[in-house]
Symmetry: C2
């Protein structure tokens, strides 16, 4: 599989068909694991890092879900390819920008991946379309077992799984649900959501996780604590809370429609107008207008457009994807033109 | 002819087919005339005003070009009808808002009109599509002769035609050429045009004449002086100067295309996108976006759109026209919605 082919497709998790997919983009579970008896990546010198990476990579590659998939040594990948993987949520920015031996393995549908030598030796990730905590957990648990049968994970009877950063010790699990909350943003209610989540030790982050902004009105809600609770408890907390956020967003959408339908129609139609006509468009404006269009499609205001088309555009209009599509590096002005043309093509506009 | 029917048509002069019609909307000649031996309108009491108005109206009505046309006593017209006439450039704002007996007569194609009891007893107006100084003058002169054979105009051998305001004494003529100058506006060159015109005693005004702003990038260039020159000299000056302004605008358009075609395409396509998708739109935004679209059509960037459609929209999207179309008064928010719907209908948008 050539990375090139990724520039015009997206992972299965973006198909927009899962439960609550009008609001929930995806459910993601990440498990941090390390090898027993080897220095953890932040403490390992180049040689130890290299040995651990090769050791893990060989075993991951041979494991069932990854045998048919893709395995990339990132030290050998181009910067552009690494950015592409970040844009697809297959690797973290940290792993992309790190030095030394590190790699990623992922299945062809991109639903399951393992980062090797990020902050921990292994970061197992499973991602699903829509609200699918249970299914996601089952899949992540299965992969972890498969890999655990081939690798000896550092585990402490008192602490649980050991990790490089103490915030991950215990289950090593982070559960994130990516939500599209345009109505709560429009009505300036996100601050209240932040506060409510913070009180129950849940974090709200932007599109690309820690330290990133919430472009496109996308927010990830995830557990902050990994220690002192088992996986079922952590999942249970999100399972209790996310439906309330969904209900809040849905209620606000209905209120916006009831109070000023024309204003909302104007907003979503104009956004579609921009996407269909612009001859150059920035990433930021693309995210904003796509967000409005996504809201419009979900409210039935924009007939004839599918959510999967819109979901896909969020990913494929990012800088590395456009450059991969064009087959060469593009400066920002060229990218903005290429992006506008790509969007028009995808939307069947003149 | 019902005024109602005007709400969905426009005058012949907007068909956009005259010479230089990519830049010149229309040529207009106005002749001020007063009756000998009667007090001029600003000095006349209600009775004298009424007598003069009835006297002129009867004679105008019987004259050839107006016999088949429309004659309206404005004191009997609704405020909305008067606004409609202002929006169509058939009467001035001053006449619309004045008190007492006053009227307007105009031909069915709206190319020829007479305001009665504006600042002067008669304001004869002839308007033509595109750059047509000679044809416009011939027509105005013909109408003036026709009316002059029925009315005794105040004329002084030393001063020429006498008018209420000294700035109109002499020929009583104002020649105005309405230009669409989006490229000069975009490149911030209008100040220089103002200065150049001022030096040769030409005035630059907005869409609705004196004291109005230049919305939609429309500017009227007209003579300021009416005394001391004959009609041929006044026409000659505009005939010398207007082609230079046209050339300047055309050159600037070419330079914009050559220097940054994508930027220009982006501007005109986005403007069309707004007009095709908005669910509510203000007058100001309509003028701005129509101006960009008009530029785009004239530069061949927006295939499939006709200039006459765009020219027409400038007139028909104005507040009184929309209310006439709807058959009832509309508050601003309703107007903005009705305007957006009307534009979409005219542009064949969903």
């Amino acid at each position: 599989m050539e990375l090139h082919s990724l520039s015009s497709t997206t992972g299965e998790w973006l198909r927009g068909e899962g439960p609550e997919s009008d609001i929930v983009i995806s459910t993601r579970i990440r498990l941090a694991r390390n090898l027993r008896g080897r220095p953890f990546p932040p403490r390992a010198g180049p040689e130890a890092r290299g040995l651990a990476e090769a050791f893990v990579r060989e075993r991951v590659r041979g494991a069932a879900p990854f045998a048919e998939g893709v395995c990339l040594e990132l030290a050998r990948s181009s910067e552009l390819d690494r950015k592409l993987l970040v844009e697809r949520h297959l690797i973290s920015r940290e792993l992309a920008n790190a030095e030394g031996q590190r790699s990623v393995a992922f299945t062809r549908d991109e639903s399951t991946s393992v980062m090797i030598n990020e902050e921990d030796h292994l970061r197992i990730q499973v991602i699903r379309s829509g609200m699918q905590l249970a299914a996601c957990w089952e899949a992540a648990d299965r992969v972890e077992h498969t890999l655990g049968s081939r690798l000896d994970f550092a585990f402490d009877d008192a602490f649980g799984y050991l990790t490089s950063c103490p915030t991950n010790v215990g289950t090593g699990m982070r559960v994130s649900v990516m939500l599209h909350l345009p109505a709560l943003v429009l009505t300036k209610q996100m601050e209240r959501v932040f506060e409510a989540m913070s009180k129950i030790s849940l974090a709200v982050r932007g599109l690309f996780g820690e330290g990133t902004s919430a472009s496109g009105d996308f927010y990830q809600i995830s557990n902050q604590v990994t220690l002192g609770f088992d996986e079922a408890q952590l999942l249970g907390r999100l399972n209790d809370v996310i439906p309330k956020v969904i209900e809040h967003e849905r209620h606000t959408r209905d209120a916006l429609l009831a109070d000023n339908r024309v204003k909302l129609e104007d907003r979503v139609w104009r956004a579609l107008g921009v996407l269909r006509t612009a001859r150059r468009i920035s990433s930021e404006e693309t995210m904003e207008t796509l967000s409005s269009v996504r809201l419009g499609v979900n409210l039935g205001l924009l007939p004839g457009l599918s959510i999967s088309t819109i979901n896909t555009l969020f990913i494929l209009t990012q800088p590395a994807h456009l450059q991969k599509l064009e087959g060469r590096p593009l400066a920002t002005p060229e990218r903005n033109e290429r992006r506008a043309r790509f969007i028009r093509e995808q939307l069947g506009a003149p």
